[in-house]
């Protein structure tokens, strides 16, 4: 393998140059295509791999609050008591994976019937954005998402 990599790196033969160009073409195509996942996708808050540093989405100021219904009784959740602060930040940024995992985790607690996560944001201009509410029914495992 080392000799093949040496020849590819040097690209002195027509075959090596052809391989190099194929690799370069694939590389740039893949690298340039990955960010389109954001622009063609449905989640405007997940800016990973999209090179959107300090976008209008990123500068939003967001807070999350959580509550759950256990044995018919509603109670609020202090997220900091069971996940690291950094994950609370991820929830504030509406990271889908973190949201779903948190809701599933709380549903595993005995007696938990429903878990709700509410995300409130203000835009860069200070305008309140519609709140997003995730409500997971623990019995069915389905999560409803509402903008309020």
């Amino acid at each position: 393998m080392e000799r093949w990599l040496d020849e590819l790196a040097a690209a002195q033969t027509p075959a090596a140059r052809r391989n190099a160009l194929v690799i370069a073409g694939l590389w740039l195509t893949i690298f340039a295509t990955i960010p389109l996942r954001y622009y063609l996708g449905s989640d405007p808050s997940d800016e990973r791999f999209a090179w959107r540093m300090f976008s209008a989405v990123r500068v939003q100021q967001c807070r999350v609050g959580a509550s759950e219904r256990v044995h018919g009784e509603e109670r609020s959740l202090d997220l900091f008591t069971f996940v690291h602060t950094a994950w609370v930040t991820a929830l504030e940024r509406n990271r889908e994976g973190a949201v779903q995992k948190l809701l599933a985790l709380r549903c595993h607690e005995p007696g938990t019937e429903e878990v709700r996560l509410v995300r409130r944001c203000a835009s860069a201009a200070g305008r309140a954005e519609p709140s997003i509410v995730y409500a997971r029914d623990c019995a069915s495992g389905t999560t409803k998402v509402e903008a309020q």
Binding site: A9, A10, F31, F54, A56, H84
Partner: protein, 462 residues
Amino acid sequence: MSGTKASRSSGAESQAGAAPTDAIDRYFFGDVATVRPWLLERFVLVLLAVDCFVLRIARAGRYGAGGFNVAHFRWLDAIAPVPSASGQVHLTLLTGFLALLFAISRPPRAAMLLLSALYTYTWAISQLDSYQHHYLLSWFLVAFALFPRTETARDAITRRASAWAYVLVLDTCAVVYAYTAYSKLEPEWRSGTALRSIVGGTGAFDSLQRLGAALSLEGDDWWRLVGSSVVLLQVGICTAYVLTARRDAPSKWLPWAATGGMLLAVSFHVGAELLDLEIGWFSWYMIGIAVIAFSPARILEVVSAPIARAWDALADLGTPEPGVEEPRALTLVLLAVSAGGVVVIAALLDVPGASTAGVAAGIWLAASTGVTFVRHGAARARPLLVSGILAALTMWLCVAVSDARYDYYRFTGGDLRRRGDLAGALHAYEKANRYAPPGKSRQDRVDSLRRALRAREHRTTN
């Protein structure tokens, strides 16, 4: 374990081998001052290593806290275990050690691919690390496996040769800036609202604002102009990166374009640093890459000459005196001592996971040196051992003189306290105090936790 035999001839062959024919050929395979890829590879590897030792270790305590984790990719979540703080320390230190070792030695190309895989795992395993430049560096590390190699550093910094993987790195940077520019076309950026929100009360743009006021450009108009100009700036940087692949071709205007590109890139990232944005060392990586890519080759050759001399001196350490044959046993003894030394140095770091990282690093060093010894003799093996010890000592120094351990333990203490593990928090804060900079002791936390634990114990016994 070095694969440079083919590379010794690559530089000479490029002068006599197949010359680029069409434009694409010229773009990718035209001669480049090889000081650029040589310096860029070393710069990124060294900065990456120090980044691992100083910044990433500090934050490793959050991994696996409360058993909660989400990887960047669903398939990775499905197959990989939930990371732990000690596991993350282990992987991060090992990654940094290998990066530094590879920067000062001659690793096989395949080893660079392994480093890329290891480094990628350290960020991909958790969305706790969402720094986009870590993702970018993963790509660069793969490209480094295909950078030109020469027998000596002196050759590397004085030659011209084809370096298509280096051109690929430049084009990759161009794509990054293209998308960054595109993202700034949003109304909130063009209106200046987003930038105003970022700058806030930092005062970073005060002098520019005063200049604007002198030109009757104030308030919303000023912010709109500056916000919009960020787009143009990033388009300019993108264009410069594409063009600078041909920086070393004879041209009247390319040097000017390169200089312009460097000014734009450096000013943009220095500005980002002044805003104190929480982006890790992204700006420093990009400033370094810009300087290497856009500067005149002659300047880079002069600047890198002492580095190259040191690199060659290290590589020559194992060369025996003419006519003298040294006993193989001596090299084996040195191997054992060096590998053991790496283990001990890592253990002294006093961070969970550091000892196992030292063992892994020691095993790598021993194995790679052993293979090098068998294939190429003591002359190649011994410099690798010295490089390993140097890398380990640098690792220790970076962790010891920085706030990495203090931050690791105080962040861990804070998290454990919030999650109700008072005993664990007390232990963490006591450790943090051991490494606290002057005036930053967490003794108040230690005292309050001791009181809380005594009260809890009192309630339990009653």
